[in-house]
């Protein structure tokens, strides 16, 4: 792995508007790194994907749903040479972008843990507002780590800690996994048995930021908040050490400097001393120290982790895999690429949108998922796009979009069809799909198809409503067509973002001969929604 020297000079931060018009230099840099890693790249790489495929990819990746049939039609007939970049910018400016990506960050950072002590939807709103305001993700993480939950206006951000009950081992594990890309859980009791880079002192250095923080049931606020003491040290022994030597650890990031407590007299220790009914507020907060350290000494590992995760989210697999195993012995699939993206994250102030823009406008992202030859590990080498499953939110919102629920709702709401109103409707209607597809709480998203998901899709009443005709939805549009060919087009454009081939037109025509057209339409829509082509991004 290429290591950057400390204190690398920051490039000028490119603003979002200037990016909109410039050719995307970051995309070019990424593609350059990918080509350089493959001697015969030009001979081996698959060609660019077609427009419909591209539109479907950026829609699910940037706003969480498949494109509507009219969006596909518009995009397919557009002739501007930079129409792909234009559409990307259109999606990034869409309020649904921040709305969807808030749910992505929520799934990353909360892994669907219930809102035990806080309001889970207020937290998602906080993430959405942060993203809409283009807040740097480093600043966002710092806010989350420093939160105490006391101020009602800022309570939402404390969910990360409060809904983990501020259980220190869990918090340290999740901070190391989710923000630093290093699962230090195994390093709690001993240096990691297989990973040289994960040491016990790393785990306990993180622990030392939290050991003085505690969950406090505030009698006045009648809520759980975080308090902190001004004393308490972290000591540890290795279970493999026969001598049981006890070591002390001050707060410090892995491989970072140890931070000593300032020398304070007893009287100087507290802003508010902890008591039975009083939340402790120390003058020197170790937890606040972590927030500061993460965005300074921890900037590079934070940037690398985020770059890797954002890449994984839209490309289907991280450059380092698994996502929480960043260390010296785990080679990135393309080390130069990872470092380019890490640097871009650092230089770009940890903004999400510019990073996403650069990735989706790269040749790598736009490569076809059809193999060109018989190269082994072609997806890992980025010779072709990876066939990847939609995540639970993408499935839910795409079923709604594909079946025309969104359009029907917009019609029904009329002038009241604001983005916020539609988002609320979509969240509620997508929830049963998301719940069925989501892993158990406390687990990262991962593709685990299960029998009961198929039974749900087949037989549960919830999906049936989207297959019935309703003014503005797909079933209604199909039934309105006298020509089965036009109905077939409407079907395939809505669900799969492409036109049907001859054989498919023929199948739809045959279905339309049947006695009950509305039944035929229901079953056609269902069959495509249940198909692998819908379930995956190709």
């Amino acid at each position: 792995m290429i290591r950057l020297a400390n204190g690398v000079a920051l490039c000028a931060v490119l603003t979002f508007t200037s990016l909109m018009n410039a050719a995307e230099p970051l995309s070019q840099a990424m593609d350059g790194a990918i080509e350089r890693a493959e001697p015969k790249f030009k001979d081996l790489a698959s060609s660019r994907c077609d427009d419909g495929t591209f539109l479907r990819r950026i829609s699910v990746d940037l706003i969480g749903r498949v494109p509507t049939s009219s969006e596909v039609r518009t995009f397919l007939v557009a002739t501007q040479p930079d129409k792909r970049a234009q559409w990307v910018d259109r999606l990034l400016a869409n309020p649904d972008h921040a709305w969807y990506w808030a749910q992505v960050l929520d799934a990353w950072w909360m892994e669907r843990l219930p809102g035990k002590n806080t309001d889970a939807s207020a937290w998602v709103t906080y993430l959405r507002e942060s993203l809409a305001a283009n807040k740097g993700l480093d600043a966002l993480v710092a806010e989350i780590v420093a939160a105490d939950g006391v101020d009602p206006a800022q309570r939402a951000r404390a969910r990360f800690l409060l809904d983990r009950d501020m259980e220190p081992t869990l918090v340290v594990r999740d901070i190391s996994r989710l923000f630093l890309g290093a699962n230090l859980q195994c390093a709690q009791c001993h240096d990691h048995p297989r990973i040289d880079g994960y040491k016990q002192e790393h785990f306990h250095g993180l622990m030392a930021y939290f050991n003085r923080t505690y969950l406090f049931d505030d009698p006045k606020l009648k809520k759980k908040v975080l308090g902190e003491k001004a004393d308490g040290d972290v000591t540890f022994q290795s279970v493999f050490d026969p001598k049981k030597v006890t070591r002390k650890r001050s707060p410090g990031l892995p491989n970072g400097p140890e931070r000593q407590d300032p020398m304070l007299t007893k009287e100087q220790l507290y802003v508010s001393a902890p008591a039975k009914d009083v939340r402790g507020i120390p003058k020197h907060s170790r937890r606040a120290l972590l927030a500061g350290d993460l965005v300074t000494a921890g900037r590079e590992p934070m940037a690398r982790n985020l770059a890797n995760r954002i890449w994984a989210q839209v490309m289907g697999k991280g450059m380092i895999h698994p996502l929480d195993q960043i260390h010296g012995d785990n080679m990135a699939s393309n080390p130069e690429l990872l470092e380019i993206m890490t640097k871009a994250m650092l230089d770009g102030g940890f903004k999400l949108r510019p990073m996403l823009r650069a990735i989706v406008l790269s040749d790598a992202y736009q490569r076809s998922s059809m193999p060109r030859g018989k190269e082994k590990k072609a997806e890992d080498r980025l010779l072709m796009a990876r066939l990847r499953p939609l995540n639970p939110e993408q499935v839910g919102y795409s079923i709604l979009a594909a079946s025309g629920y969104d359009e029907a709702e917009a019609k029904a709401l009329g002038t009241k069809a604001t983005p916020a109103a539609l988002q609320a409707k979509r969240e509620a209607s997508a929830r049963p799909f998301i719940n069925t597809l989501a892993p158990p709480a406390g687990n990262p998203d991962g593709f685990e198809p299960r029998l009961e998901q198929a039974l749900f899709m087949s037989n549960h009443a919830h999906i049936q409503q989207f297959l019935s005709p309703r003014d503005g939805n797909l079933a209604a549009r199909m039934l309105a067509q006298k020509d089965s060919g036009k109905a077939a087009e409407e079907l395939y454009l809505s669900v799969l973002a492409r036109l049907p081939d001859e054989s498919e037109r023929g199948d739809v025509a045959a279905s339309f001969q049947s006695a009950d057209r509305s039944v035929a339409v229901r079953d056609l829509i269902w069959a495509l929604l249940a198909s692998a082509e819908f379930r995956f991004v190709s």
Binding site: P322, E448, V519, W526, S531
Partner: protein, 424 residues
């Protein structure tokens, strides 16, 4: 499964699990999907696990100590095996003892419910870095026929909690996780929705499959296969829906099983096993009798005894028992000492399980505890020995290994060997 896949990479031709990526939280293994052990030979064997949740008292079941200060008020009764006695709470099971083997010398040294249960399901103590698969998942993977329409690991449990526990399968993959049959009722959503006929369902799935065939002709992966397979599995489960209808049973037999939940659940278990399910677990709860241990065991054993005896006899009558490995287990036993609430607390140092069927010597008894029941004095075994014994009984090699990320992981604890004296 030998068709050419799109990119021809190693992962895709080997294992479905290969491309699924994410492991259970806490696992430190980088899983890149190398070969698992190839399916081992099997001949229509199956497993029935009866799990008495909470920790059944060995003193009130398999290892009574009447007259000892720790013995409690129940006496011991003779069984159909000369010289073997069980608690008076098991009069019907006592008459089936000639089919059962008893392991009385278990010391799992783990008094925590979750951890004790883990040991009994996986044959290993919990480790932070590796999650081991349940026996049910292993059987689903290695004993089940690949085209078996039923899920390999079915768990019939009292109400609450449906869905599946994909995590049970650990690195074997969620396909081999347990599928929960909550309260013995068919899986949720097993019925077609109102107004949808079988003909229509056939037709829409035929459309789905046609669409998939077209799409996946040139680029399918382990993940797409896993996905499409769940639909086929769902259809097959729906076709087997009738298995879940225990009202199809003759009334007298249903009466013999008992007209209570456990009775119905065991009757369902028999139907599932008979219908080809490779591994069925039935849970009976409320054995955690810290308070009024004796009254509650009267009640619990009152349900268990007759039901289990009926089940054994029924399996035998249908010619299934000799090819079905039957086990009655718990997460631990209970303290010989009677506490201040006429209760017994957790005791993993000296307790018992019962086994029967495939590969087991009927009527065998191994292991002895002392006069008070506080310690094992002869032939002490742990969860690893039991696990290796299950393997051997099923004709599987307990020394075989899984290969995860090219790292060999023994399927059973290498430090524990099968209990030879109860293996046929």
């Amino acid at each position: 499964m030998g068709e050419l896949r799109g990119c021809g990479s190693i992962e895709h031709t080997i294992s479905r699990r290969a491309a699924m990526g994410v492991l259970a939280a806490g696992s430190a293994m980088a899983f890149n999907g190398n070969a698992l052990a190839a399916p081992l030979t099997h001949q229509n064997k199956r497993v029935l696990m009866v799990f008495l949740a909470g920790g059944v008292s060995q003193l009130e079941t398999w290892d009574p100590k009447p007259g000892a200060p720790t013995g409690g008020p129940f006496r011991a009764i003779p069984t159909s095996v000369t010289g073997t006695h069980v608690s008076e709470l098991l009069p019907h099971t006592a008459m089936q003892m000639h089919r059962l083997a008893l392991v009385r010398g278990i010391n799992t040294a783990e008094d925590d419910h979750g951890k004790g249960s883990y040991i009994m399901h996986t044959g290993r103590k919990q480790e932070p870095s590796v999650a081991y698969p349940h026996l049910g998942s292993l059987v689903a993977r290695m004993v089940a026929e690949p085209d078996n329409p039923l899920p390999g690991y079915l768990h019939v449990q009292p109400g609450g909690g449906g869905g599946s526990s994909a995590g049970d399968a650990a690195f074997l993959g969620p396909r081999f996780g347990s599928v929960n049959i909550s309260d013995g009722k068919p899986p949720v959503n097993i019925d077609l929705p109102n107004g949808l006929t079988q003909a229509r369902d056939d037709s829409r799935h035929s459309m789905r499959r046609k669409a998939d065939a077209r799409f996946l002709a040139t680029r399918n992966t382990a993940e797409t296969e896993a996905y499409t397979q769940t639909h086929d599995q769902a259809r097959q489960m729906m076709a087997k829906k009738a298995l879940f209808d225990v009202t199809n049973e003759p009334d007298r037999l249903a009466g013999g099983y008992g007209r209570h939940d456990f009775g119905r659940h065991c009757l369902l278990a028999r139907r599932l096993l008979e219908g080809g399910a490779p591994f069925v677990k039935v849970t009976h709860t409320n054995y955690d009798t810290h308070h009024e241990n004796f009254d509650f065991h009267i009640e619990r054993m009152g349900e268990f005894d007759r039901t289990f005896a009926t089940l054994l006899e029924d399996l035998h009558q249908r010619g299934l028992l000799s090819s079905t490995l039957v086990m009655v287990i718990s997460e631990f036993g209970r303290t010989p000492n009677i506490n201040r609430n006429y209760g017994r607390d957790h005791w993993s140092k000296a307790w018992s399980v019962a086994l029967a069927g495939q590969g087991i010597v009927p009527g065998a008894v191994t292991g002895k505890t002392n006069a008070q029941g506080t310690a094992v004095v002869d032939r002490q075994v742990n969860g690893g020995h039991l696990f290796a014994t299950y393997f051997k009984a099923l004709g599987l090699d307990p020394t075989k290994k899984h290969y995860i990320d090219q790292r060999p992981i023994p399927m059973t604890d290498p430090a524990a060997s099968p209990i030879a004296e109860i293996l046929a």
